[in-house]
Amino acid sequence: MSDYNVLIVEDSPTMRQLIAFALKRIRGVRIVEANDGVDGLKKLSSERFDLILTDINMPIMDGLKLVSLVRNDANYKAIPIVVITTEGAQEDRERALALGANDYITKPIQPTKILDVAKSLLRIA
């Protein structure tokens, strides 16, 4: 039985693996992967998640749309969301946070940063 269910929404399999590898350092974490926003929503409807990490640029449904939909759904709106993206501009960051993302991490991937943010949002000391 896992303590934390984490959903990674990212179209790049390499990136998904890199994020998953970083998160697996948290004891009791279970990771579910989704290819894009639509796939992410499908996974959200089938089980409960404690944290969502999502990319912005994805086919079919992008990460910002996913953030917006999650925040406007009473069933999911309490789930913390972290956006991980190549978009480093301040306005992109502000837009994601305004839509309801809890944190914003820019690429290239830094496992320590991902781990710190995830621990903080999962309230792990």
């Binding site: 390499t14 970083a22 190549t86 690429k107 320590t112």
Partner: protein, 273 residues
């Protein structure tokens, strides 16, 4: 009436007797205490006359020496604590370094695992592109391969720029041609001052299998949040380029053999059917 008076006198007499008895007991206690104190005074006088003062002087000396010893011991313990604290700081710094190394190794492991997970040439190029964006932090770059028949290096995949924008380069010509000939990486001296030039990339890394160069990775622009390369990036780059080269080479060989196999199969089908 008279009887009452007699009773009162009797009661008072008894009370007086009680007080008197208590006074007598108290006086006896005082006498005992006096005797005890006199005995104690005698004892002390005897002790003093038999050199008691000299003994206390020796005690004081001993105690002073003991204090000095304890002070020295305390100082030694404090020095050891300081030393242990310094060691702890070293260990903490080393722990962070090891954690960084561990992260880099994990990233490299995943990247190489992904690169060698397929024999499809296009998929290999896609994975290399993902790695360069997500791990290196590049925004505009090209994967260029050497055509050994024409000695020309051509872009086979690009990100952020059109493939047609990257001109083919002759082996040995310009930065790209030099890197492909020498097998040595090229890094622009000042990333901030660098202006995009397709013939002279900001970073050019040879794709080498042992000493055989099969192409180059040419980077023209980094992500806006990636201002410069960390020392580990140079190492990571070279290691990744090695794996990328092997993956490209294997997938090409596999594609060629598959094509040949299908041609041969076609002939066999023609002859046998």
């Amino acid at each position: 009436m008279q009887k009452d008076e007699e009773r009162t006198v009797h009661t008072r007499g008894e009370e007086f007797l009680q007080v008197f008895k208590k006074g007598a007991e108290f006086t006896q206690d005082l006498l005992k205490e006096n005797e005890r104190l006199r005995y104690r005074v005698l004892e002390l006088e005897k002790f003093q006359s038999s050199g008691g003062e000299a003994a206390s002087g020796a005690d004081v000396r001993k105690l002073t020496e003991r204090i000095a010893d304890l002070e020295a011991e305390k100082q030694e313990i404090l020095d050891r604590i300081r030393h242990v604290e310094e060691e702890n700081q070293d260990f903490a710094a080393r722990y962070l370094e090891i954690e960084d190394e561990n992260n880099n190794l994990a990233n490299l492991y995943i990247a190489s695992y992904q690169l060698h997970s397929t024999l499809d040439f296009k998929e290999v190029l896609q994975i290399i592109t993902e790695i360069i964006i997500n791990l290196i932090g590049a925004e505009e770059f090209a994967i260029m391969l050497l055509d050994e028949k024409s000695d020309e290096i051509q872009a086979v995949a690009t990100e952020g720029v059109e493939r047609s924008e990257i001109p083919p380069v002759r082996l040995g010509k310009g930065v790209i041609g030099e890197v492909a000939t020498s097998g040595e990486s090229h890094f622009a001296s000042d990333f901030e001052a660098y202006e995009r030039d397709f013939t002279a990339p900001m970073v050019c890394i040879p794709l080498k299998i042992k000493e055989h160069v099969i192409g180059v990775l040419a980077i023209y622009k980094l992500l806006m949040q990636k201002k410069e390369f960390a020392p580990v990036d140079y190492e990571l780059f070279t290691l990744l380029a090695g794996h990328a080269a092997t993956a490209i080479f294997s997938s090409r060989l596999y594609s060629d053999s598959e094509r040949k196999l299908s041609t041969i199969q076609g002939f066999i089908d023609l002859l046998t059917k």
